[in-house]
Symmetry: C2
Subunit: 745 residues, 2 copies
Amino acid sequence: MMRFNFVLLLLISATIINAQKIMGFNDANAKTQLDWEKKYDAQLNSKNLDGWMQFLSSHPHHVGSPQDKANAEYMANLFRSWGYQTEIAEYYVLFPTPKVRVVELLGSKPYKAKLEEPALKEDRTSGQKAEQLPSYNAYSADGDVTADLVFVNRGIPADYEELEKMGIDVKGKIVIAKYGGSWRGIKPKVAYEHGAVGCIIYSDPEDDGYGAGDVYPEGAFRPKDGVQRGSVMDMPVAPGDPLTPGIGATKDAKRLDIKDAPTIMKIPVLPISYEDALPLLQSLSGAVVPASWRGGLPITYHVGPGKDKVHLKLQFNWDIKPLYDVIAKLPGSDLPDEWIIRGNHHDGWVNGAEDPLSGMVAELEEARVIGEMVKKGFKLKRTLVFCAWDGEEPALLGSTEWAEDHQEELRKKAVAYINTDGNSRGFIGAAGSHTLEPFFNEIADAVIDPQTGVTIKERRYANAVVNADKTARIKLIGNKNIKLGALGAGSDWSGFLQFLGIASINLGFGGEGNGGQYHSIYDSYDNFIRFMDPGFEYGVALSKTAGRTTMRLANADVLPIDFNSFYKTVNDYVSELKTLLDNTRAETEQENKMIDDKLFDLAKDPKKGFQSPKPKDAVPYLNFSDLENSMIQLKNQAEEFQKSYGNGINLSPEKQKELNEILFKVERSLINEKGLPRRSWYKHQIYAPGFYTGYGVKTLPGIREGIEERHWKEAQDNIQIVSKTIEVYTTQIKEATTIVKPKAF
Amino acid sequence: MMRFNFVLLLLISATIINAQKIMGFNDANAKTQLDWEKKYDAQLNSKNLDGWMQFLSSHPHHVGSPQDKANAEYMANLFRSWGYQTEIAEYYVLFPTPKVRVVELLGSKPYKAKLEEPALKEDRTSGQKAEQLPSYNAYSADGDVTADLVFVNRGIPADYEELEKMGIDVKGKIVIAKYGGSWRGIKPKVAYEHGAVGCIIYSDPEDDGYGAGDVYPEGAFRPKDGVQRGSVMDMPVAPGDPLTPGIGATKDAKRLDIKDAPTIMKIPVLPISYEDALPLLQSLSGAVVPASWRGGLPITYHVGPGKDKVHLKLQFNWDIKPLYDVIAKLPGSDLPDEWIIRGNHHDGWVNGAEDPLSGMVAELEEARVIGEMVKKGFKLKRTLVFCAWDGEEPALLGSTEWAEDHQEELRKKAVAYINTDGNSRGFIGAAGSHTLEPFFNEIADAVIDPQTGVTIKERRYANAVVNADKTARIKLIGNKNIKLGALGAGSDWSGFLQFLGIASINLGFGGEGNGGQYHSIYDSYDNFIRFMDPGFEYGVALSKTAGRTTMRLANADVLPIDFNSFYKTVNDYVSELKTLLDNTRAETEQENKMIDDKLFDLAKDPKKGFQSPKPKDAVPYLNFSDLENSMIQLKNQAEEFQKSYGNGINLSPEKQKELNEILFKVERSLINEKGLPRRSWYKHQIYAPGFYTGYGVKTLPGIREGIEERHWKEAQDNIQIVSKTIEVYTTQIKEATTIVKPKAF
């Protein structure tokens, strides 16, 4: 006991001594800031989150619904009541909704898909049938096709390589794919590229139904009729209104014809439940699927086709609908033209309790308490912009249109964008610009996990170590630093980070509140308070985490930017790419040799009509030297800057302003105005969603996708582009260094 | 075309030039042998295999059945007709058969298991209900228990560690386990060790039912009512008649009381179908199982217990039944007291077409053609002993009793034992004593795959490379050598290899004739000729492979033993064990540190009542030096012998006899008469079945299981024992070396 208390005492003293330091703050300002943070924490009230979620999720609130507009107005009034300069920014976007939905199996054992999620007495909002959007994939094409059905696993490019070996071609056929393994829009896109005329996507019970846990309402997972709605717009090409790419969809914006919109899917696509999928999959014959393709239905999965055809008929209302973005500003006292932007979307596919409201209500509570504190004397140097985005679900519409509409102003003023999009229980997840990594780690050291009483960083670390496999564990153990993930696609940061080059971070808790309610009518308040975050404890933890992030960015004397982290991360990406290229070369050589040696012919079962793979083109060596040289420059300059970074807090306000302007605009230099190959909207040279993964990030995307897709010249060209980008970036750091570096005698 | 023909010509010439060489034969004898092998191949006739299988599988032929005896007599007559001195060796063994079988779920939704495999019109023998053994596990205890049910995944020790973390104790409960992941007898044994009072084993559809492929009779896989019969005797302790361990179960042998027999299972055990398992598993509540425990049933798997109890009642007829081993000898012309033994069992659980008859009929055809050739002048130096074992299915009864009964004679005369146990289509599989590895590779170079026209070695290589993951592929590519597997348990070699120290090898084709008929009434002729080896092409290939193995061993001037292969293999095992110990130490330290640091407490979901693991005892360093030193001696001696091995073919017959006697008896020196810890029947120091895996081999078992089970002193003691064993073994090689080594001037 003695010993334990002694250690505890030491820890407490250490905390007190260190508590005075925050990255980018001088000691006096740090003390003030930490005092206010203590008050902030004390005022956060989970009952507010609960009450707001009850109201906001009380009716379906998708784009164009009465509740969508009502929610925007409700929140705008809240922000106003807390002292924010609040407006509702309206945009007008193409948002198709279903008119006709038919999926049927023809032939001797016909089946007509129900396409209906039933009301449950245990879920009070599930019966709001008249207000619910039917289950569908937004931006599917209209279509009426009858064709053979083929099962394509997850429907990603690798699955089609496997199908080719099995001698299966999807040309002229309808494909059925499992949800998962990629962002959903990849499935119809790749199907279309292979000549399919329609696409059905279903939720396999292995993924989020009974295979994962007890189904709703007994448990949290997807019941047999549950359907995942969602967009299939080609967002890896560009998010936002498909008729106004690159510009704000204001009332009188110049619009494309629907037929010319490049991101609208070219074939009809519909999501269905596993109950509706079962007869379709059972009708398939042909080869048995590879073991890794199997799902959780009690059947033998075949690739098909079967003897019976499938009829898929879809028609949509191609209407222009209004968006209501709530924009609430609290102008900074010293630096009103430096903006810290905090956002979460407010539209849902149906009642949307977890997605997005659990994050939205945390943001509201942040805004409320900050507003109250400002009234009591809390000073904010920079301007806070709290945003509640509309239309995230269909295509990140609200955030993208606002970012496009305000691009000039944002380029000048935006310091950083902090995003959340829903929240549940468990462990902090964080991804974003790597210059923010040490800054975020400091915040994770300051927030206490509500279930265990240790910091959210400690708990995240424990979970990572315990659940790592043996090899990974060795690397993890002792290393508590939270490595930020890289941002691909999936929520409202794209317009800020990837279109405009504004440093961004996305935050959320998860891992213990898992379920299968995603994008169904069962993502309800009743579900959320039973299975996701009962008591809104983690909602409050999110308010603490995101609130600190916002407030410290708003008040830092010198913005908490770390170039060493950026360098190390990008350098790891460069190493990855060199390894990727080498491995691709070795594997290509090996596989071509195996083809030459007829090993595939000899290994295959002659009783199955499988094809051996075709030889691939040889992989050239690429010249990485320019990039490697610019990385060395970056390394040296980053180290030099960070050595003197601490001096920044002692500079004059004028010098600090000059320094900060470089620090927040440096991320802009990662933007190349020409954009990435085949998708000019995405301009960030370090982070992009994968062209063939969607959610999944591709870092150094121009080079990486060139290698992955075997466009060797493109890969080489992009090595040069990135190399130049890094050079310009390094110049900015050099400029910042001259400000902070002590002058030589 | 020109080029191709040229290459072909080169290959043919190379074959002609090399064809004269066979390991252990002088050139003249090699030529004669190869000429006869050509004639042998030409005379093999798939129609014989087909006809014999039809007869032998025409009725159920388990131990004690009329067809079992009839088959023995039928085969004895065949052997006699081909010129073999044939006898039927009879033994009398305890063989329990079911009298009462009840499994029922009690409570509000009661279910009584059907325990019945229905007849199918597509399978002509499936309706022989009166003759079929009901589905059961032989050597289960009698019992009548009503208790809570707990799902224990595969029922192996690691699963109970997982259950402990979930706070689940099986004491006083009935467990239900999936087939697979271990030999079946491990499941009730481990359940009993943990205090369970009953055990139910079921075939999960993911493993060999609809998850693996279309079910019978549409496809080859296990239908919903199919049940895997099988023994649960504690064979890792000792196989054979449980009442006569270590001695032949002759009519008047001294027998233990049943209650004293150590290898009879202590709790009731019954196998059931997945249709019968479904209501039992559905009744379970409690925690959802870890993801890797899930099976293919359309439910959420829980560990249980549920609110309703299960009733398991089993009674058996504990009868002594006769065994009929067919023993057919062809005395050797020169060395009649050197025996080459070739065996396959003939008893089946029901009609047993694939298991065991597909191997049995291949052996019969080998015996027929060799017999015919001998009549036409083919000379066999050594004695061939063809065996058709009875009672393999219950506990390797026939082979074990015969080996125990003839142990003195076999120790003197047995050169090698060649086993098969069923056969299907695809790729050669081979496991056995590693002194035989180069010899077997030579045979695999000489047999042509019936489907592709390349050698069975080439095809096996192609399959291994194509199906390897990327890391394994790098090691495999270019290395066509067939690495023999090590023999654990699973068929009739145990009495020869592990009890007596007779070099053994087990052969069979597989990989393309997979199905779910194993140990069910559907392992029938009708099934076999549709899904396993239509046309018996691979049956003939097996006759070619095993026949060559037998004939070359019978006629070699110098036995084809290679000590380098033995050394390399055992040395790899030693390295594995050192790594195992080091890894166990590192993992123990790491996990204990993680427990100390409370990482498990912090990582777990407080809403689930899971337990954190308990600290483990520290792992000591063990002294491997004696073993390492004896391995160096072995290495040097093995290399020296193999350098001069080629001289052996020029020695006088007397010298050759002296040499050969050392070469075949050297495997005896791997026997330690005291046996392995806690199981004295198993005496081989290099190969044994795992105490907790059953089929799965444990190499250097005394040391390895000491480490795995954390008996550190036992591990250290066994390092010394193996070290001494290797020393003695090396002395034998030294003696052999003095015979072959050219005398120095």
